[in-house]
């Protein structure tokens, strides 16, 4: 379980997260919605230990991400897919995927490479396995990013606006992969602006506004007229997103 308790994070005078409480149980798909600057990406960065918390605590399977000794274990259990891919440009797709399994999980290189190729095949990229990131399209890079995360065999997948840099066609390719992962029971926390997709695959929806968690509801309730939609801020946000 990912447990977020009373998390507060500020950058200078700007408070980005203000007392966030959230639990993500095994098998759940939790979408985090909110406008730009609401703290969604910072919450993901706090979950994977990239940001130090000012207050509160985040644990992943009881490993506290704020404690350096426990952070490594927490990171072995979760994997992140980034908005701008963050691939290593000097490595091929296969090498990008196999690096962490070899170095962190101590999987033999040949085995890790075979696993990486199998993952790439599962996302339709077997022909591009030996290409460098600069030789791949945005959608292909993001699929490599997803494979890189899956290669760690994580219990939890953290996804930070992974389709925001992609065109609609590439977005649908990537979302199809996520839908398959969700149907396979992969636990996911994803920050997204794809409202309809969030509605389709999420078990819960969390809405952040100005660093505060406004609602945390099962998906059906979130989108119901007398549920999340009853809150003016959420109704306004969803209406704006649908127009866009």
């Amino acid at each position: 379980m990912i447990s977020v308790r009373g998390v507060r994070k500020a950058f200078g005078a700007a408070t980005v997260l203000d007392g966030i409480d959230l639990d993500v149980h095994s098998g759940e798909v939790v979408s985090i919605l909110g406008s730009s600057g609401s703290g969604k990406s910072t919450l993901i960065r706090c979950m994977n230990g990239l940001e130090k918390l000012d207050a509160g605590c985040i644990t992943i399977d009881d490993f506290d991400v704020s404690r350096p000794k426990e952070l490594t274990e927490a990171r072995k259990r979760s994997a992140t897919v980034f908005q701008l891919f963050n691939l290593y440009p000097h490595m091929t797709a296969v090498q990008n995927i196999a690096l962490a399994p070899v170095e962190v999980l101590k999987i033999p290189p040949k085995q890790a490479e075979a696993d990486a190729r199998a993952l790439l095949e599962s996302v339709g990229l077997s022909a591009r396995a030996d290409a460098f990131p600069s030789q791949l399209s945005g959608g292909q890079r993001q699929r490599v990013g997803i494979c890189r995360a899956l290669a760690m065999k994580p219990r939890y997948l953290l996804l930070d606006e992974i389709t925001s840099a992609l065109d609609p066609e590439m977005t649908s390719d990537v979302l199809a992969i996520l839908a398959k992962l969700a149907s396979d029971g992969t636990t996911m926390v994803f920050v997204t602006h794809e409202i309809e997709f969030a509605r389709t695959i999420s078990s819960r929806v969390v809405f952040l506004d100005k660093g505060q968690l406004v609602v945390d509801l099962p998906t059906a309730e979130f989108f119901a007229a007398d549920g999340g939609m009853a809150k003016p801020r959420i109704a306004q946000f969803l209406s704006k997103m649908r127009k866009d």
Partner: protein, 223 residues
């Protein structure tokens, strides 16, 4: 009566001088590369105290003439530290330190040119600092640095000629000896210059070849 004609033994002399210059260049390059890279890593990881020491030391070495540094080591160490150094030892110490200072600057900028997002990604996947340095930072920093490093090494090769003033019998010193004997400065110095030129071109060629290989992933195919 002076014997001013060239002899076949002069080729041996030139080859010896060339060997000394090359050996000193290679030794000081290796030491300088290792030392400069180590200083850059210290700076990258913001190691307390050591970072400040390294920064000040590199500043001093970068911003003072190599000849002054050479005199300080050769004449200064025996006088102040009661350490006697041979001309070759003084040359190795000075040129290694000077090379390290410039390697440090190049390595720091090469490291800082690597996107933080990649380092964050590697850390998130559980790679240790050492693994990040080895697999993510070093290969890319090398690719960024190889161009400026090649330029630096070509320059440092020319700088080795300064060591002849403290008595190291390098290529320049041999040139001086031949010049004094033959009284044919244009021929002697043209020959010495040509040998430095060939060595410099070889370094530049090696650097370009290595750069091409290291930057294969960003190969620019043109418009």
């Amino acid at each position: 009566m002076r014997y001013t004609s060239f002899t076949s033994y002069d080729i041996v002399l030139l080859a010896q001088g060339l060997g000394v210059s090359l050996a000193l260049f290679l030794a000081t390059t290796i030491i300088g590369l290792l030392l400069g890279s180590l200083w850059a890593v210290i700076r990258f990881y913001r190691v307390p105290v050591l970072t400040q020491i390294v920064t000040v030391f590199a500043e001093l070495l970068k911003n003072s003439p190599v000849l002054v540094q050479l005199f300080l080591v050769f004449f200064g160490l025996p006088a102040f530290a009661k350490l006697n150094v041979t001309p070759v030892e003084a040359a190795v110490i000075t040129l290694s330190g000077n090379t390290a200072a410039f390697v440090y600057v190049i390595a720091v900028s090469a490291i800082e040119s690597i996107g933080r997002d990649q380092i964050e990604a590697a850390r998130v996947f559980g790679l240790s600092r050492w693994q990040v340095l080895r697999h993510i930072i070093a290969p890319q920093a090398m690719a960024f640095a190889i161009g400026p490093l090649t330029g630096l090494l070509v320059n440092q090769l020319q700088v080795t000629s300064l060591i002849s003033v403290i008595g190291v019998v390098d290529l320049t010193k041999i040139g001086n000896i031949l010049n004094l004997r033959t009284l044919k400065p244009f021929v002697v110095w043209a020959m010495v210059g040509a040998l430095y030129y060939v060595m410099a071109k070889l370094i530049a060629y090696g650097g370009a070849t290595l750069e091409k290989r290291l930057r294969a992933h960003t190969a620019w195919k043109g418009l």
